[in-house]
C-alpha cells in the first residue's frame, strides 16, 4: 500500500528539523521567526497581569533594603563601585585636560599656513616597486602634486597625480625614493642624539637603509627617524619616517661602518585613512 507523501510522522520530523535550525539562528533572525502579533500577546498578558496583581496583593514583594545594607558582600561591592567611580572621575579630569590641550594645539594649527585634509584610501595598486595609494580627494579639494601625505605623526608619501575627485599618493617605500633624515635617540649618558643621514629604500621595498654611519656613531635600535629633506614640502619635515630596526657593524666593513635599517612604523599599504598637508591660500 502506498503511503501518502505527507503524514504525521514526516511533518513531525520536518517541524523538529525546523526547530533545531531555528534554535541555532542569530538572535535577530530567531526573534523575527518567533514574533507574535501584539493582539495575541495581549490575549495572554492582560489576564496574566490581573493574576499577577492578585498574587502580589496576597504576597507583597519584600523590601530588601535593610538586607542590602547589612550584607557584607554587597557592602564590599558597593565600596568597590565607589572606588571605581572615583577612578573614572579622575580619568574624566585627565581627559578633560587632554581635550583642552588638543583644542589649543588645534587652534595653533588653524593659525598655521596649512590645513590638514583628511581622506579615505580607496585603492592600492599592489606594486612593490612603485606602490600607489588612491585617495578620495583631489584638485577640487585643493590637493596638488608634491604635497606630503601623513597619518598621525608618520610620513606616508607624496601626491604624484590628481584628478578632480581623487589623487594618487606614492608611498615613501617606492623604489626610487631617498631622503635626508634625522636620527633621534638617547645616548647611554641620557643625552639626546641628533644625527642626520640619507636613507634609501631597501630591496625588500618595505624598509630603508644607510651604510654611511661609522661604527662609533650613536645610532641604536629603536631610535626614531624624522624627515629632514629640503626637497619635500617644508611642513612635512619632522614627520616620522620610521624606527631603527637594525644597527650593526656592516658585513663588508665591520670596523668602519654601521648598517642601519629603518622600518616605517605603520603598514603604509593598508592604511584606511590619510591626511594631506594642503597649504592655505
Amino acid at each position: 500500500m502506498n503511503r501518502p507523501p505527507i503524514n504525521a510522522k514526516r511533518v513531525l520530523i520536518f517541524v523538529t528539523v525546523a526547530l533545531v535550525i531555528s534554535s541555532q539562528l542569530p538572535v535577530r533572525a530567531a526573534t523575527w521567526i518567533s514574533y507574535l502579533p501584539h493582539s495575541f500577546v495581549s490575549l495572554i498578558s492582560q489576564p496574566a497581569v490581573l493574576l499577577t496583581r492578585a498574587s502580589t496583593t496576597l504576597r507583597p514583594p519584600r523590601d530588601d533594603t535593610d538586607e542590602v545594607i547589612d550584607d557584607k558582600d554587597l557592602k564590599h561591592k558597593y565600596a568597590e563601585a565607589l572606588a571605581y567611580i572615583d577612578n573614572l572621575e579622575q580619568q574624566i579630569i585627565e581627559l578633560r585636560n587632554l581635550s583642552e590641550s588638543l583644542t589649543k594645539i588645534d587652534q595653533l594649527l588653524q593659525l598655521e599656513d596649512i590645513q590638514m585634509a583628511g581622506a579615505s584610501v580607496i585603492g592600492f595598486n599592489g606594486d612593490k616597486e612603485n606602490p600607489i595609494l588612491t585617495i578620495n580627494i583631489g584638485s577640487d579639494d585643493e590637493v596638488r602634486d608634491g604635497l606630503a601625505v601623513v597619518w598621525g605623526a608618520n610620513l606616508v608619501g607624496e601626491v604624484v597625480s590628481t584628478s578632480a575627485k581623487t589623487s594618487d599618493v606614492k608611498l615613501i617605500t617606492a623604489a626610487d625614493t631617498g631622503f635626508q633624515v634625522r636620527f633621534a635617540g638617547h645616548s647611554p649618558d641620557g643625552s639626546i642624539n641628533a644625527l642626520t643621514g640619507y636613507l634609501e629604500v631597501g630591496k625588500d621595498g618595505r624598509s630603508f637603509y644607510t651604510e654611511a654611519f661609522s661604527v662609533d656613531d650613536p645610532v641604536n635600535v629603536g631610535d626614531l627617524v624624522f624627515l629632514a629633506d629640503d626637497t619635500w614640502q617644508s611642513r612635512a619635515k619632522g614627520f616620522i619616517v620610521g624606527a631603527v630596526e637594525v644597527a650593526e657593524p656592516h658585513p663588508d666593513r665591520p670596523y668602519l661602518n654601521k648598517l642601519v635599517v629603518v622600518r616605517p612604523m605603520l603598514d603604509l599599504a593598508h592604511l584606511p585613512r590619510v591626511v594631506v598637508l594642503v597649504p592655505r591660500d
Binding site: 504525521a8 513531525l12 517541524v15 523538529t16 526547530l19 533545531v20 535550525i21 531555528s22 534554535s23 541555532q24 539562528l25 542569530p26 538572535v27 535577530r28 530567531a30 526573534t31 521567526i33 518567533s34 514574533y35 507574535l36 495572554i44 498578558s45 489576564p47 496574566a48 497581569v49 490581573l50 493574576l51 499577577t52 492578585a54 498574587s55 502580589t56 496576597l58 504576597r59 514583594p61 519584600r62
Partner: protein
C-alpha cells in the same frame, strides 16, 4: 483527546505559570517557581493516546518557548519546544511502568521527564555558543547554574503536581477520550 478542553487547560496553565510567580516564587518572583505547563504536559503524556502525545507536548513546548527566556531580545523558537518533544518520547517509554491513575506517578514522571526536557533545552541553548553554529552565545549563560536552577524548579513542580494532578484526574474523563474513541 478533547483538543478544545486541551487548549483551554493549556491557556489556564499558561496564565498560572505567568501570573502566580509573585505568589509562589521562592524566595521571590524572580526565584524558583513551579512549571505548570510541564505538569500538564506530563499528565497528557501519561494519559493520552500515544499518537497524540507528541503533538500535544510539542504544542505545550512551543507555548512554553514563547515565554521570556534567557535571551533579552526575545524568545528563540526551538529549545523548549524540542525539549518537550523529547519529553514526549521519554514519557511514552516510561508510562508503561507506572500506575496512570495515581498522583504519585505524576509526581515521579514530572521529575523524570522534566530532566529530559531541561537537558535538551539546556543543550540547545548551550549549542548557540559553539563556533560551529550561527547563533550567538546566550549572555551570562552558565550550564551548571542553569542545571541547578532547573532541577530546583523540577522539585517544586513535583510538589505542585500533587494538587494539580488531583484536579486533572477529575477532569481526565472529559479531557482524554476512552480507549475506543481515542485519536
Amino acid at each position: 483527546m478533547n483538543w478544545l478542553l486541551f487548549a483551554i487547560l493549556t491557556y489556564i496553565f499558561l496564565l498560572m505559570q505567568v501570573g502566580l510567580k509573585p505568589l509562589l516564587g521562592i524566595p521571590n518572583a524572580q526565584g524558583v517557581s513551579p512549571d505548570f505547563l510541564l505538569i500538564f504536559a506530563v499528565f497528557i503524556g501519561i494519559h493520552a493516546h500515544s499518537r497524540s502525545v507528541a503533538w500535544a507536548m510539542l504544542t505545550i513546548g512551543l507555548i512554553a518557548n514563547l515565554l521570556p527566556g534567557p535571551i533579552a531580545e526575545g524568545p528563540i523558537l526551538g529549545p523548549e519546544a524540542l525539549g518537550y518533544l523529547m519529553g514526549a518520547f521519554a514519557v511514552l517509554q516510561f508510562r508503561t511502568l507506572v500506575f496512570r491513575e495515581s498522583v504519585v506517578s505524576l509526581v515521579i514522571m514530572v521529575v523524570v521527564v522534566g530532566i529530559f526536557i531541561q537537558l535538551v533545552t539546556i543543550l540547545l541553548y548551550t549549542g548557540r555558543g559553539m563556533p560551529l553554529f550561527l547563533g550567538t552565545p546566550v549572555p551570562n549563560w552558565d550550564v551548571w547554574d542553569e542545571m541547578f536552577y532547573r532541577f530546583l524548579m523540577l522539585l517544586y513542580s513535583a510538589v505542585m503536581a500533587i494538587p494539580v494532578g488531583l484536579v486533572l484526574l477529575k477532569l481526565s474523563p472529559a479531557l482524554i477520550s476512552p480507549p475506543s474513541q481515542r485519536g
